[in-house]
């Protein structure tokens, strides 16, 4: 466009107005309107967590104890990690049903490489090869990456539904787990580093420091964004809203640290889970790759016409999802302290998919957040943990978890309908 200044210079219109700063009152009003129109964000999760805590605490005084809260974080870390990968696949509008056993493959590789050295006598190497922990983890992650590449290439190359291909993958990788265990029953893991992944805790002072760093980083981020937006004359959040958010964030963070410090301290894995969330959120929202994931999930044809290499994006997302499952497998092996022929089975996959869905990521693609896996996993772990404390049997626990999942999906569906009714998708 060459001449852009032809329009009347002095009109004040909606677009110009959008560049001015909102007042705090307007901001709150807008927020309430957004919620009313179905853009509920993380509200149901927060309310859900509070309700769950109140119910279980009234039934069993052991629920809201420091020890149990720390356990809950560690417990949730496995399907939070796998769930992060699932979020990305869901954003594409696809699914990965093999993620559970992909995690299993990773766990078994780590266990076998560390504790049952490979017998390479047929290759002329007499002594069993003992590898250090980082090699074992590296191999496990590399293999999961290849699993993702294989599945992604099949899905993309033959234009098949990911549902079917990863269902086949689920069977195949559970078979691989069995073969790799080779009838060994259970292999115990004694490697300190691997066990330490879920069994290390920060000393109290470190906990406080980390909490402070977290809050300071987020506050700095908000401040810098506010400043550069204001400098460019773009609309800004009212400072009061930023301060309110930061106050709530610090309150939650420091309350958690205070409680965790009464037990063993802030778990190391908690920090890892937050770091993974930060990195993946950055990738999803601040890079071209992330933008293209949303674009492909929202309108594949539009993405293709915009020159985006849709199939390359899809394959990379499946690889990333399997890689996250690989990390999940390492955490699984660490938490259980052993690997068995059923590694990666059971409820692992369902929890990993349910977590982002409960957290608000759409099953239909194009809408969701990496953090949804974290919050959804907290809900699942809270319910699971609470029911365990109440001494409910496996049957009741499964049914109750199902109810939580259905409630979450219903809330999402109702919100979506309201958004449609009010013209927001």
């Amino acid at each position: 466009m060459s001449e852009k200044s032809k329009s009347a210079p002095d009109f004040i219109d909606a677009l110009q107005k959008s560049r001015q700063q909102q007042s705090f009152g307007e901001y709150i009003e807008n927020y309430i309107n957004r919620v009313k129109s179905g853009d509920i964000g993380s509200l149901p999760i927060i309310i859900g967590l509070i309700v769950i805590a109140l119910i279980f605490q009234s039934q069993n005084a052991n629920y809201l104890t420091p020890r149990n809260l720390v356990n809950l974080i560690v417990q949730a870390s496995i399907f939070t990690t796998i769930g992060y990968g699932i979020v990305l696949v869901l954003l594409l509008g696809e699914i990965d049903l093999s993620a559970g056993y992909t995690a299993g493959v990773s766990a078994v590789i780590v266990g076998r490489l560390l504790e049952r050295p490979l017998d390479l006598s047929s290759f002329g190497i007499a002594d069993p090869v003992i590898v250090p922990w980082f090699v074992a983890m590296g191999v496990a992650l590399l293999v999961t990456l290849l699993i993702g590449l294989l599945q992604g290439s099949i899905i993309s190359g033959f234009q098949l539904p990911s549902f079917i291909v990863t269902l086949a993958g689920q069977l195949a990788w559970s078979g691989v787990v069995l073969l790799m265990m080779g009838g060994a029953g259970t292999v115990n893991i004694r490697n300190e580093t691997v066990l330490g992944v879920t069994r290390s805790f920060f000393p109290p002072a470190w906990g406080w420091l980390l909490g402070f760093l977290l809050v300071a980083t987020l506050a700095l981020n908000e401040f810098l964004s506010y400043r550069s937006r204001a400098k460019m004359g773009l609309s800004t959040k009212p400072p009061q809203a930023i301060i309110l958010q930061m106050v709530i964030l610090s309150a939650v963070t420091f309350a958690f640290i205070a409680v965790a410090n009464q037990d063993r301290g802030v778990p190391f894995i908690g920090l890892i889970v937050l770091l993974m969330m930060a990195v993946l959120t950055y990738v999803a929202t601040q890079t071209r790759f992330g933008r293209y994931i949303f674009a492909v999930g929202g309108n594949k044809e539009a993405a293709r016409r915009a020159g985006i290499r849709v199939e390359a994006i899809r394959i990379r997302v499946f690889m990333l999802c399997s890689l996250m499952a690989g990390f999940g497998g390492i955490i699984l092996a660490s938490r259980l302290g052993s690997v068995a022929p059923d590694a990666g089975g059971g409820q692992l996959l369902l929890n990993s998919i349910a977590a982002p869905v409960i957290g608000g990521t759409s099953l239909y693609g194009g809408s969701g957040k990496v953090s949804s896996a974290f919050f959804g996993a907290l809900v699942i772990a809270s319910v699971d943990n609470g029911m365990f404390l109440l001494g409910l049997g496996a049957g009741q626990r499964l049914i109750l978890t199902a109810i939580v999942l259905i409630v979450a999906v219903v809330v999402d569906a109702v919100a979506r309908r309201r958004q449609q009714a009010s013209g927001r998708r």
């Binding site: 200044s5 329009s7 933008r291 044809e301």
Partner: protein
Amino acid sequence: MSGQPILELRGVSKRFGAVQALTNVDFRAIPGEVMALVGDNGAGKSTLIKGVAGIYPFDEGEVYFEGRRVTIHNPREASALGIEVVYQDLALADNLDVVANMFLGREQVSRVGRLSELEMEEACIRTLSGLSVTTLRSVRLPVAALSGGQRQSIAVAKAVMWNSKVVILDEPTAALGVAQTRQVLDLVRRLADSGLAVVLISHNLHDIFEVSDRITVLRLGYLVREMVVKETDYESVVREMTAGQLNRVPGMRDHE
């Protein structure tokens, strides 16, 4: 008012299997003018613009852009020349906001590869204001939240944001109400007034007479004629569309 055409097709033909979709058609687009492309269903309008957009090549004929002979192999090459097409289905991602859609596939990034959101938002607001697309509450709304007219305007703005010289609009007002049609037609006129060559495909003669300078009438894959809007009227255009004299009998092979 007639300047040199920026885009000119000479004698283009296109055949799909047994169907001769275009036969020996001439067409041109002139900077600063709106060229309407009309014809009944099956006249070859879509075939013509898809050839220009690089979706598929013409079988015969020549394409000239800024006086040079060019061959457009794919949509990317068309964009590189400065030819943008806004298709009927708009090709917007509903879940992304206005800024993300405007820059889709051409995002600005910093040295470390981080999306330059602020710069893009600024450029987006500037472009939309420049086109007087000003009914938006915010450029951070998802496209799904916009009205039909706003979506059309965004699709058009997206097309002209990249120093394009020729903008082809495929039925831009087909799904719109009265007020929104007004909005989009005004935008079409402004594009031409700012020096672009605009090609407008439409079934709605009322719209065409309102904003176009010239009309090219196709019928059954043949060029009937090019007309100057000021020198013609509804009836003659309809007559040409439905019963226009063709040089040759449709369906017959050329025997030259």
